[in-house]
Symmetry: C2
Subunit: 402 residues, 2 copies
């Protein structure tokens, strides 16, 4: 009479896949001597422990009655006010901001607002599996658009949208990581940003801009976000919603991010937050607010940049010194990742097995494409987590396998 | 050409309703002289500020490299180990525990595992709208089962299940708050708990047991949870999943709860957590772990009991002293709520308007029933938030309106 409980599971639950990236991370974690470029982890050396410890104690003692009580689902007012100090664009107000349990949480709420099972999200190919998994959980189907060095190709995006609209497919939004993209490390230039927005306008499709690494720029000039461009130059303030994160600045364990967008999108996202998380941790929100108010934010960002820039440089240097001819890589101006393209004959899924034996790890490129894509000669390297010496040694080990 | 963005919203988003309870809370918040029995808030006097402030500072300084980094989606190992100290049932292990962003978050993940839009959840009537809203967001439909003083009526539950199964409706689970129920304050006795589990076994339907107030018992003997009964006496360890909360003990602003259930349910819940929150706040989790490890937990619970018991007593006393004959109320052995039943002729939705004018607030009973239920003569009173004097004064004001 008793049957396994899985018979009662929802369709989305039954169709959920295990994350291959998580498997790799588990496989390589704690292995003695392993040099892992696989994760997307900030360096623990970057965490502002002393300041946070002091602020937590201060906030709980001084504002305990408030921050230990239920808080607003849209986020702590003090943190929103602090965000308005670092996001210095005109006409931004609290109603356009939602604080989230990390930026993935914002991506989930945004997707939940738009996606019915089977609806389409257009994304970069390769794209970031963490976000795509959150969207897939809502039943989204992905159509990837190929990239050149400046991101999504406008002509391809246009063709893709036209084909989907001709077939009356329900395209719900375009998802992009325009800066130091995960996994490719590529950055959209200004011209490309304008083009992407204009195409979205033409088809009247919203854009979700994911900007977890924006503050981590090691060289080159800051470029306005698509969100900023749409609001200012293109006079289309409802077009773009942007997700940002404190994970790479304060530490991902605090699970704190924020989404900024038009009130007509933020409002239903708040309703989802009410039902799913009630609110982010209120003590942590107030700590982040004070961290900004005290002026620690800019200082912390420059500390991180000074930590990661030499690591990126070391990895580029090591790749140049060790990799055989025919292998190419991106030169990210910021963020945490380098994308390596090998000879067509090299299958990086298979290379990973040998790499792990040699105690070096990466994520094979195939994990960043939707199913059915046959690209097998790429891989992603993270440079934020390991120190400079390990980076040199790890790349040397990897090069020896090729 | 440009159309409102709502045309792209998902069906669930378009069908989401505004919370009437939130409206009442907004309407009464910050009004000078208002005595509100409407919210479900713990008293700020109950928050262990000093201990938490010290532990936050300690945890971030000592374990910062760990707790500021990405953490496991299933929850912090240290907190799970601490929970195993307070949940002293045999054969419980880490794989049966998921730490969540408050217990509502656990209820959402559980529901997401089971519910496809249109599927049925059986719940107590009246029931807790916060949980029901989380379930409704997944597309659940509710079938309420009437209660007597010991909770859901077994005969009614049987009839309901039979009728639904006969019609081949997809019943996914039974949701109960067996202790100091929100909103009624009622507690299921041991016999009733056994009967409910046995009926669930007969129809092979899982039970979701919500236990946010369990530790707040002011008199009477502790009764085993349904989860404990199913695991031990009834030898059916997969039947019940239980959600618990630190909100009423440490403070709801910390957004920390946990779900315990069979690994076959906890595992897919973890997969939902990966996609929606990644993990709860890791610093806060470690703080809760140390709070337990240091032995503060039992002490904190007795502090809260000593704070709330006199408030409950004061409210009962005030009701006795002020309410006209024919009005009855529940005598909760714990928790935060008293349920008042008025004369059939009194409509508590209309009474609320006059009450707010007299600066006293409550939640009308109709808000705790599914749509279409016509009961209008009940109301919920919270006794944890106001002090004893305000309780006496508030009940006096309310009684004068009847």
């Amino acid at each position: 009479m008793y049957q396994p409980i899985t018979r009662l599971f929802s369709k989305q639950t039954l169709s959920m896949k295990h994350s291959f990236i998580r498997e790799i991370l588990k496989m390589t974690k704690g292995v003695a001597g392993m040099i892992s470029f696989a994760g997307g982890l900030p360096s623990p050396d970057s965490f502002p422990k002393k300041q946070l410890a002091r602020l937590f104690s201060e906030v709980v003692m001084e504002d305990g009655e408030d921050v230990l009580q239920y808080g607003a689902s849209e986020g702590d007012k003090a943190l929103k006010q602090a965000i308005l100090k670092i996001e210095t664009i005109s006409a931004l107000d609290e109603e356009q901001i939602l604080i989230t349990v990390g930026s993935t949480n914002g991506i989930y709420f945004f997707t939940r607002c738009f996606i019915d099972p089977g609806d389409i999200v257009i994304s970069e190919a390769p794209g970031f599996p963490g976000s795509l998994a959150a969207m897939e959980a809502c039943g989204a189907r992905f159509v990837g658009v190929e990239m050149d060095e400046y991101g999504m190709l406008p002509e391809r995006l246009k063709q893709t949208l036209k084909a989907l609209f001709d077939k009356k497919q329900r395209v719900k939004f375009i998802y992009v990581i325009p800066e130091f993209q995960n996994p490719s490390g590529k950055t959209m230039n200004l011209k490309r940003r304008r083009e992407i927005i204009e195409i979205a306008q033409q088809y009247d499709v919203p854009i979700l801009e994911d900007q977890p690494y924006r503050e981590l720029r090691y060289d080159g000039e800051k470029i306005p976000t698509l969100w900023e461009l749409a609001r200012t130059e293109l006079k289309d303030p409802g077009r773009v919603t942007i997700c940002k994160s404190f994970s790479k600045i304060l530490g991902p364990g605090l699970r704190l991010g924020y989404t900024m967008g038009p009130p007509e999108v933020i409002m239903p996202m708040v309703m989802w937050a009410q039902k799913i998380t009630v609110s982010p941790d209120c003590a942590t929100q107030r700590v982040a607010a004070r961290f900004i108010d005290r002026g620690y934010f800019a200082e912390q960002i420059s500390t991180i940049i000074n930590l990661y820039r030499p690591r990126r440089d070391a990895m580029i240097e090591a790749l140049k010194a060790n990799m055989p001819a025919g292998i190419t890589w991106t030169m990210p101006e910021g963020g945490m990742f380098i994308w390596v393209t090998m000879d067509d004959k090299i299958n990086t899924d298979r290379l990973l097995e040998r790499a792990i034996e040699s105690k070096v790890a990466f994520i094979p490129g195939s994990k960043f494409y939707s199913e059915g894509v046959s690209k097998r000669n790429e891989l992603r390297l993270n440079f934020s987590y390991c120190d400079v010496d390990s980076i040199h040694e790890g790349i040397r080990r990897l090069a020896q396998l090729i």
